[in-house]
């Protein structure tokens, strides 16, 4: 008897330790009564106990014991997942059963779907905007009167990553030259660039050995854009990348620049590259705008057949966000700004974008 009692009490305590049985805690005195097949007994007891004593407003968070609470939560999640799967299966069955008469699939809401309509979105047939773009500072490039020539430099005393980014950018952008910035003032560099026939000045700003800003200045008298650079991946860090890019002129893809400001920035990027891409090189540079972030990628593609294409990513990748667009060449103190990013006024809505 004693030994039996001892054993039963031990097994009871073990079960208590097993944690899964909350009801065990509620009715511990029933445990020593049961003798054999205690597993079955537990379950029946549990069921009766659950029906009897589970309060209706019980929530998992009220259990003080962390292990038991965690296990209860996992059980709850499992049940919910099962219910969700069942619901999905049921819906799929119904849909199949209805066949053609099924209601159309609901489109999930995304931030791009819910974007607030921007009134400055450019209508392709708009004459005034066409005239404006036809006679602005980029008209010389778009009328094929000039060829791009880019000067890439950094802020003073650049460190490793920035230097390598400049070198890699120079391979990506044709007719690009990297120069060391010897602490020279940009306002003095610009007239010299103009006299030597450069069309673009690109300054990569560095902070604590990491590139974080980009100033892109269109040269004769063109606008200056200041970007925030993030998520820079150099060639060495790219996974499954192809061989180094060749000297061929790449194609340019500009995605999703819809508003008037987006148009200006898109033209700014387009004018970096020469007009006629060499399709032999099969290289393409993409500037993809999504939610006001511009993603730069450089790929090599190959058409396997009419419908399938394989791509390899070469070259650096980075993300840009526009901070300001200034009319005229670089003059941050006295220049007039066409667009300045004002965080508190412009970032108040999650669904409003400006590019």
């Amino acid at each position: 008897m004693d030994s039996n009692e001892a054993t039963t009490s031990e097994s009871v305590s073990k079960k208590k330790g097993k944690t899964k049985k909350l009801k065990r805690k509620v009715k511990p005195d029933e445990a020593p009564v049961q003798e054999m097949d205690q597993a079955e007994g537990e379950e029946t007891e549990k069921k009766s106990v659950s029906e009897a004593c589970l309060p209706p407003t019980f929530s998992v968070s009220e259990i003080k014991n962390k292990q038991r609470r965690h296990s209860m939560f996992l059980k709850l999640k499992e049940e919910k997942r099962k219910q969700k799967l069942e619901l999905k299966k049921k819906k799929k069955k119904e849909r199949k059963a209805l066949g053609d008469k099924a209601p159309p699939k609901e489109v999930p809401k995304t931030i791009e779907n819910q974007r607030i309509y921007d009134e400055t979105t450019v209508n392709p047939e708009d004459e005034e905007v066409a005239f404006d773009e036809g006679t602005d500072e980029f008209s010389a490039y778009f009328n094929r009167l000039t060829n791009p020539k880019v000067l890439i430099t950094t802020s003073d005393r650049p460190r490793g990553r920035t230097v390598r980014l400049c070198e890699q950018l120079a391979t990506v952008i044709p007719h690009a030259h990297v120069y060391y910035r010897r602490g020279l003032a940009l306002k003095r560099v610009i007239p010299q660039c103009v006299s030597r026939g450069f069309t673009y000045l690109m300054v990569i700003n560095e902070d604590r050995k990491v590139p974080n800003g980009l100033v892109l200045c269109h040269l004769p008298d063109g606008p200056t854009a200041h970007f925030k650079v993030s998520n820079v991946r150099l060639r060495k860090e790219m996974k499954r990348r192809g061989k180094d890019p060749t000297e061929h002129v790449p194609e340019v893809i500009l995605n999703n620049f819809t508003t008037r400001l987006g148009h200006s920035i898109g033209r700014l990027f387009a004018a970096l590259f020469p007009h006629d891409p060499q399709f032999v090189g099969r290289q393409v540079a993409t500037f993809h705008n999504q939610r006001d972030f511009i993603f730069f990628r450089f790929h090599r593609y190959i058409f396997k057949n009419e419908k399938k294409v394989g791509i390899q990513e070469l070259g650096p990748r980075f993300t840009l966000k526009l901070r300001s667009l200034q009319k005229g060449t670089f003059d941050s103190k006295f220049g007039e700004y066409e667009w300045v990013h004002k965080r508190h006024e412009m970032d108040s809505s999650r669904r409003k974008f400006h590019l």
């Binding site: 009134e119 400055t120 708009d126 004459e127 005034e128 905007v129 005239f131 404006d132 006679t135 008037r260 009319k327 103190k333 006295f334 220049g335 007039e336 700004y337 066409e338 667009w339 300045v340 004002k342 006024e345 412009m346």
Partner: protein
């Protein structure tokens, strides 16, 4: 065309050379341009009213022509050659009785008399940024620019300025403070002149005192102030800078009263309404915005597809906004008249009911017209 131009209450000049008219009540914007032969050298630099009745708009372009646009007819009626592009852009345009005053960047201020080809020329110095006419004494103009201090000229005695400002004393490093007058305003009912500079200073000068230095100096922001306007209420000035910050400054102490939010680009043109507390601003972000000066809120925002250089408000703005009110008042009056018609038709009972309703201001019963009449009474 004529119908469109007659309802426009705000006129804007753009960089593409198009004159735009905006009607805020109808919420429409119209382009008035000569045919489709636009070019960048017709970019509008200055605009002014051609006559006190505001029926003509004078538009000065980069190529040196001044065009007259009639708001009644809706077409450009006249074009005058008033200089050539080599002397710089127009920085000021004004009209006195029977003559037109133009000023260019190189400092050549010309008075063009109607009918005769002779002009009175004054050289006001190089690097002029602005020339402004005194609205109460129309033969006086003020000019100022980069390294060209404020000077007030009387056109009847054009050889010497009647007032020339002196630069402020050296700063705390004992260095000369640079001068860059960007915009000028004449304070009404007094002799004082307020200027805003490219070094983010707002200064008030008083020519009636022997002091040639500014009477008041205030600073705002860190960017050049490009435009200035004086509202109808005395003692304040609205300024805008190249970052799109609009601020209302108090001219008694030189403090910033408040900022008007919403602009994203440099402010090129700013004008306050002559009687209502409204200010219209236009700039490089291609929007026209009308703010209320009392609660600093944005009243209207219009997208006009080109960068805008100048803005002109007509006092008709008053009529348009009061037209809405008068519209309501008219409606109410019409309903009152209707009520009177009903009164004459119906029995005395109705009248007593109405009188009772008028006497007490209790809950309204009866026809809707009564309710509205009560509102009017309130």
């Amino acid at each position: 065309m004529a119908a469109k131009s007659q309802i426009c209450s705000i006129w804007l000049g753009s960089e593409t050379g198009i004159l735009k008219g905006v009607s805020l009540t109808k919420k429409q914007a119209f382009n008035f341009c000569e045919m489709s032969c636009l070019s960048r050298d017709q970019e509008v630099c200055v605009m002014a009213w051609g006559d006190p009745q505001e029926s003509e708009v004078l538009v000065g372009s980069v190529n040196g022509t001044v065009k007259t646009f009639s708001t009644d007819k809706g077409i450009f009626t006249e074009t005058r050659e008033c200089g050539d592009p080599s002397q710089g852009r127009f920085t000021g345009l004004a009209v006195t009785d029977s003559s037109m005053i133009t000023c260019v960047e190189s400092g050549l201020l010309k008075v063009w008399k109607e009918g005769s080809t002779e002009t009175v020329e004054v050289n006001v110095g190089n690097g002029i940024c602005r020339m402004q006419q005194n609205p109460s004494q129309r033969h006086r103009v003020a000019t100022g620019g980069k390294e060209n201090p404020l000077k007030v000229w009387d056109l009847e005695r054009p050889d010497k300025p009647i007032f020339s400002a002196k630069n402020v004393a050296h700063d705390w490093l004992d260095m000369r403070v640079p001068v860059w007058v960007r915009d000028i305003g004449f304070i009404p009912d007094s002799d004082k002149i307020v200027t805003c500079t490219g070094h983010h200073q707002v200064r008030v000068y008083d020519p009636s005192t022997p002091q040639r230095r500014p009477v008041l100096e205030a600073q705002f922001g860190e960017y050049p102030l490009t435009a200035l306007s004086l509202p109808a209420s005395q003692g304040t000035v609205v300024v805008g800078n190249t970052h799109g910050e609009l601020a209302i400054l108090d001219l008694r102490k030189g403090l910033v009263r408040g900022c008007l939010k919403g602009l994203a680009g440099a402010v090129r043109g700013l004008q306050c309404h002559p009687s209502l507390p409204l200010v219209a601003s236009c700039g490089l972000d291609r929007f026209l915005r009308v703010h209320s000066l009392e609660d600093h809120s944005l009243q209207h925002k219009v997208y006009l597809k080109s960068r805008l250089n100048c803005v002109l408000l007509s006092s008709r703005e008053l009529e348009s906004s009061s037209a809405d009110d008068s519209g309501d008042v008219e409606e109410v009056k019409a309903e009152e008249e209707e009520d009177e018609v009903w009164d004459t038709m119906e029995t005395v009972m109705e009248k007593t009911k109405k009188r009772a309703a008028q006497k007490n201001e209790a809950t309204v019963t009866g026809v809707d017209g009564k309710k509205k009449r009560k509102l009017v009474k309130k």
